[in-house]
Every structure is written in C-alpha cells, then in structure tokens.
C-alpha cells in the first residue's frame, strides 16, 4: 500500500505535525510526501530526510504558496490515482484540505484518528472525546486526518528520499490569500511545548491573566494556554485556546490555573503526561483528572510559585 502524506510547512521549514502524520502513515504502507508550495525547495529537502519517507513530490506555483484548499486539493486528488491512502495532520491546514480531497475521490474521510488498528480500521474520538469509536472504512481509497498528539513524531533525520517535481497547475482561481495576522510569541508553540501553563476565567481580566501567567511561563520555559471561558471573556487571544474546539495538546506537564475543567477543555489536554491543577474550589472537576492539585487563591499562589521556582 502506498500512502500520500500532506506536508505542513510555512515555505521555509516543516511543521512538527507532519512528523506525527508520517508515523501514522507508515503504519499503513510506504510513505510518499507531498510538498505543495511556491519554491519551497528547502522544505522538500528537509522532508526527504524524514525517517520513513520513501519519496517526495513537490509542486511549485504562486497559487500554492499559502496552501489554499482550492489549489492543493485537485493536485492531491490527481496524485491519489497512484496511491491508496491520503494522510494529513489534523491541524487547521489539514482539516481544511483533506475533506476536499475526500469528496473529489468520492470517499468518506476518517477524521482525527487516534490509532491504526488495521489497513482499514481506525479509532477516533467522538462527542468531544467522551467516546472513542472504532471505525472500518469500506472505501477502496482512504482519506485520513491524524490527531498529532496521539502518534510519536517520526525522526526528522535518517531518510534520503528522492524528490520529484509534479505538475502544479489546477488552481481554479476562485480564492486568494489576503494576509496572515500571526500571533507573535517568544514562547514555544502550544502544540509542541513540553510545559504549558493555562489560565481560566478566574483571572478576571486580560491584564491579570498576562501579568500573572507570563512571568510563570517564562520561568518554566512554558507555552501559555487558556480555557474557552478565558478566551471568550477576552483575556487571551483565540489561538491560546486549549480544548476540543481549540488546540489538542499533550505536553509533559500541563498546569491548569483557575480552570474548573469543563468537558470540552478536558478533551483538549487529558493526554498530558502530568496535570497540575490550581483552583480555589476544591470540588472543581479539574481535580478529578489532576495528578497534583493545590487548592487556594491563584492571586496569591501564582506570584509565590513564580518567585520560588
């Protein structure tokens, strides 16, 4: 079986999510990677070195620069004529493109898989992670998105795959990129951070959220996350949001501060190795999943913790 993996990149480097997708794909068969971009040669060279990648296809055109689904999907669908499965990381890029590929191939996508149980059988979360479904695909070709925290990352070194240029035409010209307002941060990215400190609505304001959490995060070399309640209240930007409707994370240590532990938040972080909860309500549901809990007032605890670390 040959598997086409969609490479997620920013034109210069490969995003980590790709490495998890390669791991999942290698459980199905021989891994070929697709780099859709504009003169993204450096990316193609990096992908060729990923352990387990047997071939790299690279398509280059201005229309592919921002990996818009309208341009990438027909390209992927064409390459799928000679592949049995299409695998993309379940990032916003992968989730945007993969279903479009699936529909062009007339197959039902298998979304956000947690494991590969066989060539056509997978597990995936449903109901915000409150249930795990084992599903078997009857389609002859598979289109799959991968929950990146559920798979080990393939090694970025060790491979030496050949790189092949493929035809990059096929953009219908119906969409164009206007701009990206990137969230600027000196800290590690949420989805790849080893330590995350995450704040909830209990912080009370954007100023208090940042003045208390940012120094703690700096001390720990941690990424900063937030609950949906904190984001909706405007304390943190939306790409801080950890949860089923935000980012799914699985760091070594997740420190939830002033977060009660709504189902949808737990769905986004319960695979963290160690969960630490700080909350003034000792009945808060977050303590039911926390390895270490501390009951008390975050406005006293957080500065003290930052100072003592």
């Amino acid at each position: 079986m040959s598997v086409l993996v969609l490479v997620e990149h920013d034109g210069k480097s490969v995003k980590d999510a790709t490495l998890a997708a390669v791991s999942a794909a290698s459980k199905l068969g021989e891994v070929h990677a697709l780099v859709a971009g504009n003169n993204a040669d450096a990316v193609a060279q990096a992908v060729a070195k990923i352990a387990g990648v047997a071939k790299v296809y690279t398509a280059s055109s201005p229309a592919l620069e921002h990996q818009l689904a309208e341009a990438v999907a027909p390209l992927a669908a064409k390459l799928m004529e000679s592949h049995d499965a299409f695998v993309a990381p379940a990032t916003t890029t992968g989730k945007n493109i993969a279903p479009r590929v699936a529909a062009l191939l007339d197959v039902m996508q298998i979304s956000d898989i947690l494991s590969v149980e066989g060539p056509d059988t997978f597990t995936r979360p449903i109901y915000a992670g409150n249930a795990i479904a084992t599903v078997k695909s009857k389609d002859s070709k598979k289109v799959i998105t991968v929950r990146t925290t559920a798979f080990e990352k393939a090694s970025a070194e060790g491979g030496s795959a050949p790189v092949e240029q493929v035809d990059a035409s096929g953009d219908p010209g119906t969409s164009s990129f206007v701009g990206l307002e990137a969230s600027k941060s000196e800290r590690p990215e949420l989805t790849s951070a080893g330590v995350i400190v995450s704040g909830g609505r209990a912080f009370g304001s954007s100023e208090q959220f940042h003045s208390l959490l940012d120094p703690l995060a700096d001390k720990l070399g941690a990424a900063v996350g937030a609950s949906r309640a904190a984001v909706d209240a405007g304390y943190a930007p939306n790409d801080y949001q950890v949860g089923q409707t935000g980012k799914i994370v699985a760091p070594q240590v997740y420190i939830a501060i002033g977060i009660s532990g709504a189902i949808q938040h737990l769905a986004g972080m319960k695979d963290s190795k160690t969960i630490i909860a700080i909350n003034k309500d000792e009945e808060a549901p977050i303590f039911q999943v926390a390895d270490i809990g501390l009951v008390g007032d975050l406005f006293k605890i957080v500065p003290e913790l930052t100072e003592k670390l």
Partner: protein, 249 residues
C-alpha cells in the same frame, strides 16, 4: 443573494454523553437534543447578512429524522425564511450530506452556503469542505469574520498560527467558528410566527443520493479514565514536586 444554511439536530452541548453498555454507540434515549452550536452561529450569520441588506432570503436545510423539524423551526424562529427537511432515520455521513446539499444548491442557486465547522456528535469537520469540492466552489472554513462585497466575500479564518484572511469568489461555502458571532434567542412572537413559515419535507431519494454508510462503526467505548492524584498543601510542596520532575531546576 440567497443564503443557504445547514443545521443538524444533535445532543445538547450541556449533556454528558453516555456510551451504551453494548458498545454500539452513545445513548440518545431521553436525552435533550438541540441545534448543533456551530450551526446556530451559521444561522445567526445569515440573519445578520440579511439585516445588513447583503442577503435577500435565508433557506435552512436539515438532513435527519422527523424531529429535525424542531431544529428547523428554531432556525425559522431566529429569522430564516423557509426550511427544507430531508427526512431519513439513517445516520447520514458528511459525504452523503454534502451530496444532498449540493443537489439542493443546484436547485436553489444560493450565493453563499453557511455551515457549522463541525457537529458536536461525530466531530468530523468535513461537510462544508466536501460540499465546496462537489460544487467546485471556494471555501472559507473556521470563519471568525465574513464580509461580502460585490461578487466576492472576504473571510477571516481561525488557523493554528493566528488569523488568516482569504478572498473568495461567490458563490462560496463558509464554515463557522465559535467567535464569528453570538447567536440570538428567538423571541416568543417569532417562535409563534415560525410555525406558519414554509417547511418542505423531502427524502434523500428525491435527490438521487445513496446514503449507505462508508464507515462501519465496529464499536464505541469510553475513553481511558485518568485517576485523580494527590493534593499538596503549599506552594513549597508544589515547587518540590516540579523540581522532582526535572522542571525549572
């Protein structure tokens, strides 16, 4: 411009789903059902476009059991003009839903179709993208801002690295993210008025779409549970534990 919105009847988002003992699925007997929250945002956005004079008519569509009528009546009470129920007791997958919606779009010729980015039951996040592919239309997924102007629409998208803005030629498909808007509650007079708005009932067969499932559910289980751990009594103890894990040493 006519706007089509797709709505799904799902378990209410405040209800904790229970996995059936026999592993066949999630128990929906006697469970409160509501409109998928992302679809409510889709309906709200369509209504706001109409209030701004950018949409002329809003058609709400649902594919599901007879009771999905209630979901459509809610859309009508919020401000949709008419509704189409494609009635079936089968669990219809996103691909088949997209095929039915594509047929309806051919009949109705909307300028925009707005859907929730995902349903909170099967969490597929696929129908909108599939519909756009089948129609050959551009897509603005995970939208936090939708601004039509002339023959195009500018969509701001919530992406992993921040906010991406794309410009799409109309007609286009838009899928909603949480921060696009806050849906209104239907007022009592509007709920009464909604009862007399037109609601057509169709079947998947009317659109020539085969809704046979492509994915067979082998079993549904509860996720592995985490055990509650220990409570520490002071910040000093917490610091000690963190150092013990090799953190911030």
């Amino acid at each position: 411009m006519k706007v089509l919105v797709a709505v799904k009847r799902v378990i209410d988002f405040n209800v904790k789903p229970r996995v059936k003992m026999n592993g066949s699925g999630v128990d929906l007997m006697n469970v409160k059902m509501s409109m998928n929250p992302f679809d409510e945002i889709a309906v709200e956005e369509a209504i706001r476009l109409k209030e701004k004079g950018q949409a002329t008519e809003i058609v709400a569509v649902s594919i599901g059991p007879a009771k999905a009528q209630e979901t459509l009546r809610t859309s009508l009470a919020m401000g949709a003009d008419r509704a189409i129920l494609v009635q079936t007791d089968e669990e219809v997958e996103p691909l088949a839903v997209a095929k039915i919606l594509a047929k309806i779009a051919e009949e109705e010729q909307p300028g925009m179709i707005i859907l929730g980015k995902q349903a909170i039951d099967d969490d597929n996040n696929a129908t909108g993208q599939m519909l756009a592919a089948l129609l050959g239309w551009p897509q603005g997924t995970f939208a936090s801002k939708v601004e039509p102007s002339g023959d195009a629409v500018t969509v701001t998208r919530e992406v992993d690295g921040g906010l991406e803005t794309v410009k799409l030629k109309l007609p286009a498909v838009v899928t909603t993210d949480l921060r696009l808007n806050e849906p209104r509650y239907a007022s009592l007079p509007n709920i009464m008025k909604a009862k007399s708005k037109p609601l057509a009932t169709k079947s998947p067969g009317d659109y020539g779409v085969d809704v046979a499932r492509r994915l067979e559910t082998v079993k549904v289980t509860e996720p592995a549970k985490r055990q509650a751990g220990i409570k520490v009594g002071s910040v000093d103890e917490l610091v000690e534990r963190l150092h013990g894990m090799g953190i911030a040493k």
